[in-house]
């Protein structure tokens, strides 16, 4: 079944380069993790998604 909703999340990039995000979908997590590989928490979020997808 296709969702009735547009999948949505929001990302805010501040002038100092800091990135804020909410409603992070797995796809956004993958992008943010690639943008900032040092961000441990985002890496964990992206990894959880991959692990779940591979179940």
């Amino acid at each position: 079944m296709k969702s009735n909703f547009t999948i949505q999340g929001e990302v805010l990039i501040l002038p100092d380069g800091k990135i804020l995000a909410h409603n992070i979908t797995p796809e956004i997590a993958a992008i943010l993790s690639a943008l900032d590989p040092q961000n441990k928490l985002m890496r964990q979020r992206a990894a959880k998604t991959r692990r779940s997808a591979n179940k």
Binding site: M1, S3, N4, F5, I7, A21, R45
Partner: protein, 311 residues
């Protein structure tokens, strides 16, 4: 007494009394049928919750309006709920994600900085609920690897009948998360008893002056604390606090102190990603983001009170 039912934990085995029971089932019949599981219990309670909209006291504002005939309380919600998002997300606590997050439009608070202000302040935002399709999508999400199903808002308490109807349409097994502002009434808590595995509750303001100024809510701390203590007794509880610029000392410190004294083992998620959204600009201190100094101070305060921090 309504729908006592066995849960996977030891909770949920006490009798519940509802003076406003309005289903056609006798309490005895309801109780006897309750062994049929969470979905069945939720379907019975949904009927009670829907009947209670005639004198709505689901949130702590307890407006007492008749939502069944179109009267509106402070949340402006009607008798039906709209949904503005239903998708797999990984924003929440690591132990809960991926989650299938179902967001209901409308809220009983008026947080000027609400990151979903457009949908949270307007219960008619989003789309009409298609319950069978939503349940099908939720099951599909579980198949795709979602670990939990989360019902949130806005604030889901104001749509308790719908939230329970959603639970009634789901399988009994998935872990269910109730993401809430912890501003529920005692009546709502009774209806929620034993239904959700995890209460993920926001504790936003550490003093009632800030709560009134930023969210137009009176007597905030007493109500939230009542809800948190109840949730901790009756489910797993995770408390969130979003660090707000200029509010570390006036809001976070008293919250941390209270949590340290009253809920010392509870998981606390200190969120640092304040985003000056919606009408935050009405308040000068909320026009920017939190500084690293504020984030560091907030973390130090959490450690000073030995809080059990999670991410």
């Amino acid at each position: 007494m309504i729908c006592d039912f066995p849960t996977r934990s030891s909770r949920g085995d006490e009798a519940l009394t509802f003076s406003y029971l309005k289903t056609n089932e006798s309490p005895h019949v309801v109780s006897c049928k309750a062994e049929r599981g969470r979905a069945f219990a939720a379907s019975l309670r949904a009927k009670i919750a829907r009947a209670s909209l005639a004198d709505c006291k689901l949130c702590a504002h307890e407006c007492g309006v008749n939502r069944l005939i179109g009267e509106q309380g402070l949340c402006h919600a009607g008798a039906t709920a709209n949904i503005f998002s239903a998708q797999i997300e990984v924003s929440d606590e690591l132990e809960l994600i991926p989650t299938f997050a179902i967001a209901l439009s409308g809220c009983d608070l008026r947080c000027s900085f609400c990151i979903t202000g457009k949908e949270s302040w307007n219960p008619r935002a989003g789309k009409n609920l298609n319950l069978p399709a939503l349940a099908e999508r939720a099951v599909q999400a579980l198949d795709e690897g979602a670990r939990t199903i989360m019902i949130l808002g806005g604030e889901p308490t104001i749509h308790l009948p719908t939230a329970l109807e959603i639970v009634a349409a789901l399988p009994d097994e998935p872990k269910l998360v109730w993401k809430t502002n912890a501003h529920a009434s005692a009546q709502a808590r009774e209806l929620l008893h034993g239904i959700f595995d995890v209460w993920l509750a926001d504790y936003k303001f550490g003093n009632d002056t800030c709560a009134q100024r930023l969210a137009l809510v009176p007597n905030y701390n007493q109500i939230v604390q009542e809800n948190l203590l109840w949730a901790n007794e009756n489910s797993e509880l995770i408390v969130r606090h979003l660090v707000m610029p200029g509010h570390v000392e006036c809001c976070w410190r008293p919250i941390a102190e209270w949590l340290g004294e009253n809920l010392p083992q509870v998981k606390i998620n200190l969120r640092s990603g304040f985003w000056p959204a919606w009408q935050a600009g009405k308040h000068s201190e909320l026009r920017g983001t939190t500084t690293s100094l504020e984030t560091d101070l907030a973390t130090k305060i959490a450690r000073d009170y030995n809080l059990n921090l999670v991410e």
